[in-house]
């Protein structure tokens, strides 16, 4: 019961902050901007590519945030989730109530994740509305739950990592910077490894990237979406990594391992550490 109280509080707290409004604005800007841009693309060469894709452009908006934006939003929400409670001293209020530390942590996690899902749901609604409105009837929508589900699931990796860093550092700015650096660093290393493997023709090298958190977190929805007929070009264009290596199961395993290890460390830390008085 008290877990639900913390979930509600967390959503409310996040909504009250300007950060969330900024995230929603960024979301709307990216989604609307991308579709409007496509309506402006005219000419025989564009038409040759775009016209066959028009019935599948819902996927563009649904997958657009997947490569990077959703992870940054996840980091932005999760980095302050625990850290700001320490910074503002409000953690005392909760921990002096009849609620276990594990329950509080779970409530904060679920509340933050619910918010992330809500921001993404807004993107999906915008993608569907704009694709129907601007490009007519859309096809293969039966894949929508699966694609959306994998995007939500894959956002767990950096959400959890950032949540953990926030709990360990107890500073939202450090947590945001460290988690973002981890995301970008992992991405740069992955891209370099892929580039190098293609350069020297050693495809086996590409498999190193499978062990980095960015691969599973960013590739799962693309792997799943590549099974949708007629959308290969959209998937290929949005995917950061070349399609064709690594399976959906490997991506799921990667997300699960990173998320569960980070959650376990966060729980261990929170259950055993002191909560000192807020220092002014």
């Amino acid at each position: 019961m008290n877990v639900w109280n913390v979930v509600r509080y967390e959503v409310r707290r996040a909504v009250a902050r300007r950060k969330v409004i900024t995230l929603v604005l960024i979301t709307v800007f990216f989604e609307v901007g991308s579709y409007v841009l496509l309506t402006q693309a005219h000419g025989p060469r564009f038409d040759r590519v775009l016209v066959p894709l028009k019935p599948y452009l819902w996927l563009l908006g649904v997958l657009l945030p997947q490569s990077l934006l959703i992870h940054f939003i996840a980091i932005s929400i999760a980095s302050g989730s625990m850290a700001e409670e320490y910074e503002q001293g409000t953690v005392d209020f909760f921990l002096t109530k009849p609620i276990g530390r594990g329950e509080f942590l779970l409530g904060k996690f679920l509340g933050g994740f619910l918010l992330l899902v809500s921001v993404y749901a807004l993107m999906v609604v915008l993608a569907l509305s704009l694709s129907f409105l601007l490009f007519g009837t859309q096809r293969e929508l039966n894949y929508l739950p699966e694609v959306v589900g994998t995007v939500v699931f894959s956002s767990l990796t950096f959400f959890t990592i950032s949540f953990l860093v926030g709990e360990l550092s107890r500073r939202s700015s450090i947590s945001f910077l460290a988690s973002s650096s981890f995301l970008v660093g992992s991405l740069i290393v992955s891209i370099l490894v892929v580039f190098l493997s293609q350069l020297v023709g050693m495809t086996s090298l590409e498999y190193v990237t499978l062990y980095l958190p960015t691969w599973g977190a960013s590739q799962l929805p693309f792997i799943v979406s590549s099974a949708i007929p007629g959308v290969y070009l959209i998937v290929e264009a949005l995917s950061l990594f070349p399609l064709g290596f690594g399976s959906a199961m490997q991506a799921i395993a990667s997300i699960l391992v990173y998320s569960s290890v980070a959650s376990a460390i966060a729980l261990y830390s929170f259950a055993r550490r002191d909560v000192p008085k807020r220092v002014y």
């Binding site: 019961m1 008290n2 109280n5 509080y9 409310r12 707290r13 009250a16 902050r17 503002q88 001293g89 409000t90 005392d92 209020f93 909760f94 921990l95 002096t96 109530k97 009849p98 609620i99 276990g100 055993r272 002191d274 909560v275 000192p276 008085k277 807020r278 002014y280």
Partner: protein, 297 residues
């Protein structure tokens, strides 16, 4: 009945001892105050009682339960922070509703504390917009939700004006009368003297004194009486001749006399019989001075 019982608490931060075997009890229907200079370990002691800080060693019992193991006991515990850090984005109403939900109490209880602390006028105001004194009142209202059996307060008068202080004092008297155990820290010696049934003095992580404010004054100041009179000269002579003790301070119509023994009544009789016109006669309980001595001890 012991509502809070702490036994032999030891806590170290970065190899620096914060608490060195602190033992303390606070009983139902009594106000127990912890005094001590900054860094003495008062707040750490309170936070251990609330299961916010883990002791390295020692036993914690709140209403007979270990709050680290049995979180449900915290439903019967109210807590007021030194500087209340409340969710500033919530209105007073929403904040108390949240707390009430977490303590599983209903609307009636929310309305009770709202009326008790006069929060009706700011009911729908965001906490961020409330003044320091008002935030303190909100925090106390929240601490009193669910009629706690133990109320733990860290410096409840910090930053409050005299009116709010008086209001808080009245409420605490009522709460104590209802059988609640109040455990608090304070630097306000006057308030401590007025309100506390028992006082603990802490310094450098240890307890240097335990007893009532009167006992504290007696132990560290001796038996001091204030004699209000214009006849200061004869009084001084009388004290010297009668070997009652010594006059510590004299002037502005009063003298502070330190008596060798607690023979106040005989001393007063002697003073009156010798023709000294006495306007007032009372025990000097300057807790501030006693506190300084207790800390040094």
């Amino acid at each position: 009945m012991e509502s809070v019982s702490l036994k032999d608490l030891v806590k170290t931060y970065d190899r620096r001892p914060i608490l060195r075997g602190v033992s303390l009890t606070a009983s139902a229907g009594r106000i127990t105050s912890i005094l001590g200079p900054n860094g003495a370990g008062k707040t750490t002691t309170l936070r251990i009682s609330l299961a916010l800080i883990f002791p390295d060693r020692g036993e914690v019992r709140v209403l007979g339960e270990d709050p680290f193991e049995e979180k449900r006991v915290l439903k019967k515990v109210g807590y007021v922070q030194e500087i209340p850090n409340l969710p500033s984005f919530l209105t007073v109403e929403k904040f108390l509703e949240l707390s009430a939900r977490m303590k599983s109490v209903g609307r009636e209880e929310i309305n009770r504390v709202r009326d008790l602390l006069d929060l009706g006028g700011i009911w729908r105001t965001r906490i961020a917009k409330c003044s320091k004194g008002t935030v303190q009142r909100i925090a106390i209202a929240e601490g009193l939700l669910a009629e706690p059996e133990v109320l733990i307060m860290d410096e409840p008068y910090l930053g409050t004006d005299p009116l709010v202080t008086a209001k808080i004092r009245r409420i605490l008297y009522e709460v104590r009368a209802s059988g609640t155990c109040i455990l608090m820290t304070s630097h306000d010696m006057d308030e401590v003297r007025r309100m506390s049934d028992e006082v603990y003095v802490m310094n450098r992580g240890g307890i240097t004194f335990r007893g009532s404010p009167e006992e504290m004054a007696k132990r560290f100041l001796g038996i001091r009486v204030v004699v209000e009179t214009e006849d200061l000269e004869p009084l001084t002579q009388l004290v010297k001749e009668g070997e009652w003790g010594e006059v510590l301070k004299s002037g502005a119509g009063k003298a502070i006399v330190s008596l060798k023994e607690d023979r106040r009544e005989e001393f007063l009789r002697d003073v009156v019989e010798r023709g000294v016109r006495v306007r007032g006669f009372y025990l000097d309980q300057d807790l501030e001075e006693a506190y300084e001595e207790a800390v040094r001890a």
